[in-house]
Symmetry: C2
Subunit: 236 residues, 2 copies
């Protein structure tokens, strides 16, 4: 089933004060897309969804497939159907992001970005599992394990969102990584492409699904400026 | 066809620098909902959609039904299926908004609000039709015709949105009005309820549909702080 939209459960904003309880099952999430990113209940690691399978990069460096019954507080998914493909080589993260945003005129458009290939260098971080009472996102992610690899085969998957939607999601690029051998994954901090194939999928539609049956969500007093600053600190 | 989502074409943010060209037909919009609000191509008046019919409140005070081929730069619609109804009496706008937000725990939830009944007082304004080159929203709405009525039968229709989505839409309440005799309509500036029935419909999903084939939209350099300030000035 192909759709031309991004389906997002929750907001980045709800993670900021520490609403880490999972409010959608992985099974339900995968009915809305076969590709995407997110985090698990308790901010437990980084989620990478490829070809209909959801994986967790854990803070101990392990990668495992997620069961359909596990829950997530935040995730974005879509059904993969890229309009654009291109060959990339010898590009670092800054050059990659600048080139992709410009070449596909993404500035005011939602898009999925997937890069499969060989990476000279990969650096990720993984959010550590939180227990209640939950700390804020900035406090919870102040110390995170980082992982690095060189000459890694793997896949970058993530999104570009217009900055107007910062808070609802991450404005700009939000990219996760999973190596082909499942030995390295997480939220991308830095990368350098050796040889890879780029896929870009533009979306006219962005659908946000909110956890309106969750009492903590309903009563939280969110502040837009706090959310904006926290995303810039914790998700870049 | 009932859905549990709000479908919004465009963003409030794109109106701020003056992107007033219509980018969806009224006919297509009505396939996504039978109830809602918006504005027409050229910021031409205030749109009120009730029971599958779309009306324009014009700057000259007239109200007319919109043809399916007319276009809109911004509109929000849904299929009406309220979960809550209540009788209201003797309430001004401030008390109404406070009561509805509190009673239905709307702060972090998207909701449609409809009020049918008798109003002691109604005050609306109507955005004046703009011609190119378009001025900004704040400039275009600096001088707007206002309309008032007393002891008016009619309908308030609009939305409540979480403040996190200010920019994408109006954070808080955004309400339009249409009198039963179609002699008075527009964006609500003030009202006082005599006797009326309230309908509230919560949504788990908010779907934004962006005009990604519109060259002006793709190349506009939006600024979140400017958009936030302009919405607070022009849409309250």
């Amino acid at each position: 089933m192909a759709t031309s939209k991004i389906f997002q459960h929750g907001t980045l904003g709800l993670l900021v004060p520490g609403l880490y309880d999972g409010t959608i099952t992985a099974g339900e999430l995968l009915t809305h897309g076969d590709t995407g990113i997110g985090t698990l209940d308790g901010l437990n690691g980084e989620v990478i969804i490829l070809d209909g399978h959801a994986y967790q990069a854990r803070e101990d460096g392990q990668v495992r497939e997620i069961d359909a019954t596990e829950t997530l507080p935040f995730a974005s998914v879509h059904f993969e159907a890229p309009q654009h493909t291109a060959k990339l080589q010898q590009l670092n993260q800054a050059a990659f992001q600048q080139q992709v945003q410009a070449d596909y005129q993404l500035t005011n458009v939602f898009a999925a970005v997937r890069v499969d290939g060989l990476f000279k260098h990969i650096k990720t971080r993984v959010a550590p599992h939180q227990v209640k009472p939950y700390q804020s996102l900035v406090a919870a992610t102040a110390k995170q394990p980082e992982f690095e690899g060189t000459n890694v085969q793997g896949t970058i998957i993530g999104y570009f969102a217009p900055h107007l939607f910062q808070g609802a999601t991450v404005g700009g690029f939000h990219l996760h990584f999973l190596s082909a051998d499942h030995q390295l994954g997480g939220h991308l901090l830095d990368f350098e492409i050796d040889q890879a194939q780029l896929k870009v999928q533009n979306f006219a539609d962005f659908q946000v699904h909110l956890p309106i049956d969750n009492a903590d969500y309903l009563t939280e007093k969110f502040d837009n400026a706090t959310i904006d600053a926290a995303i810039n600190q914790a998700e870049r």
